[in-house]
């Protein structure tokens, strides 16, 4: 199962390296949204809850793009039939797709986070980096699990470009709450009290529930 998942993941990453479709688009999108927030809020620098809110809403919106492109190659070029005919477990397809989405998100954040620090953030990013990385990893895991599930759910519907974001964003509200609340004290001018543990615990619970749930139900999607 892991071997098959690795093969599909390698295929997705190679495809992304050659076509350069999702990650550059998502990165460009985050930069554009920063500019939009700059003008929309009419602020030159942000801190505290405004900063963490802008950062996380931007990342979630970028994730929507990644999710809606997740099965694009298979659908447009008919590769999905090949995957479904292959004698491998559907779970490995889920693992591969969510791992690909996770890696895409990490690649986007490698650019988007420093860019956020440069363009919008008032206080420096340096001191809070280890905590921020932990939040990002756990948040990305949740987004990747739910994103792969939603992408597979929406893949067979007629209006999939509409349904994927409408399904994804409400499902990610707990991730947004936990990530934004955990990030907020890290981005204040004067570092205040924080209860990081509580939010990381909630994120971990969310990740575990949705990974297990997706593994359990993924078999029923993408059949026939």
């Amino acid at each position: 199962m892991i071997g098959a998942a690795g093969t599909i993941l390698r295929k997705d990453l190679r495809l992304e390296l050659r076509t350069k479709e999702s990650v550059p688009a998502m990165t460009l999108f985050t930069l554009t949204v920063y500019v939009l927030f700059h003008f929309g809020l009419d602020r030159d620098s942000l801190d505290g809850e405004l900063a963490s809110g802008v950062l996380w809403v931007t990342l979630l919106l970028a994730a929507v793009i990644g999710v809606s492109r997740l099965f694009a190659a298979e659908r447009e070029q008919g590769g999905i039939d090949g995957l479904l005919l292959a004698p491998v477990d559907r779970t490995s397809l889920f693992l591969a797709k969510s791992a690909a989405l996770f890696l895409f998100l990490v690649a986007v954040e490698v650019v988007a986070l420093p860019a956020f620090g440069l363009l919008l953030l008032g206080p420096g990013l340096g001191g809070a980096l280890p905590e921020l990385l932990a939040i990002l990893v756990l948040g990305d895991l949740g987004i990747a699990a739910v994103g792969a599930l939603v992408a597979a759910l929406a893949a067979e519907t007629r209006a999939r470009e509409l349904i994927a974001p409408l399904l994804l964003l409400p499902l990610l509200v707990p991730v947004l709450i936990a990530c934004a609340q955990a990030t907020e004290p890290l981005l204040r001018q004067t570092q205040g009290p924080e209860d990081l543990g509580r939010w990381l615990g909630l994120l971990t619970l969310y990740d575990v529930v949705f990974v297990l749930l997706s593994v359990a139900v993924f078999d029923y999607l993408l059949e026939d």
Binding site: L149, L153, A154, E156, T157, R158, A159, L162, I163, L166, L167, P170, L171, V173, P174, I177, A178, Q181, R198, W199, L202, L205, Y206, V209, F210, L213, S214, V217, Y220, L221, E223, D224
Partner: protein, 230 residues
């Protein structure tokens, strides 16, 4: 197929609803702080509890569908979610009225139950476009069931997250259903909850009966058309 025991159920619902209304207006004492407005509590909170249970029940019926492949479970799950969304919209409306009357605002972001409800209702509204944009009936049932299961698991998680995020400044509505309600209010609340639950089951059965009848009608029409054509 679904109509077994419907009549006594409907009669019990009417009796329970009438009793609940009578208790709300003539028996339950006026709330010392909020006065008459507090009586919306007997509609709002039972509606919220029944609607949430309906969402979770829809998820459980979806699991039964996926395990058994019996499409009547999918129909049950669909109708349960359908009725729960209607009740959910009712919860949002009554919640807004209550918030306006007791806190002066139509919408209060630091009331976690109300905010969680908005997120849940927004999510479940996508059930319809998802379900009806898949044509193949078997695949439609499968995808809808997967959605119902994921969303059913999401409901409690979302409640925990929103409740953690909001400041604990307002009274916890759900904890009022626990020990600290005076006896008369408690009895009225429990009867209202029972009435709302019965109403849910009655509406659910009614919708199932009507869906089943229209499906049968369609089948018969098709057969008739085939015979006329022959």
């Amino acid at each position: 197929m679904y109509s077994k025991g419907f009549k006594p159920l409907a009669a019990a619902t009417v009796v329970a609803l009438a009793t609940a209304m009578a208790l709300v207006f003539f028996y339950a004492p006026l709330d010392a702080d909020q006065g008459f407005v507090q009586k919306i509590f007997y509609v709002h909170v039972p509606m919220a509890i029944v609607s949430l249970c309906g969402f979770v029940a829809g998820g459980i019926m979806a699991i039964l569908y996926l395990r058994s492949g019996d499409s009547s479970w999918d129909m049950r799950s669909y109708v349960a979610i359908h009725i729960s969304i209607i009740l959910g919209v009712g919860v949002l409306a009554t919640g807004a009225i209550w918030a306006r009357a007791s806190w002066g605002h139509w919408w209060v972001w630091d009331e976690p139950v109300l905010v969680s409800f908005l997120v849940v209702v927004l999510l479940y509204c996508v059930y319809y476009p998802l379900r009806f944009s898949i044509e193949d009936p078997e695949r439609q049932a499968r995808y809808s069931s997967v959605f119902a299961i994921a969303a059913g698991a999401f409901v409690p998680l979302n409640f925990a997250a929103v409740r953690m995020a909001e400041a604990y400044t307002h009274p916890r509505v759900l904890s009022q259903t626990g020990g600290n309600l005076p006896g008369e209010m408690r009895l009225t609340f429990l009867v209202s909850l029972l009435a709302m639950a019965l109403l849910f089951v009655t509406l659910w059965k009614l919708e199932l009966i009507s869906k089943h009848a229209s499906m049968q009608l369609k089948r018969l029409r098709k057969r008739l058309d085939a015979r006329v054509a022959a």
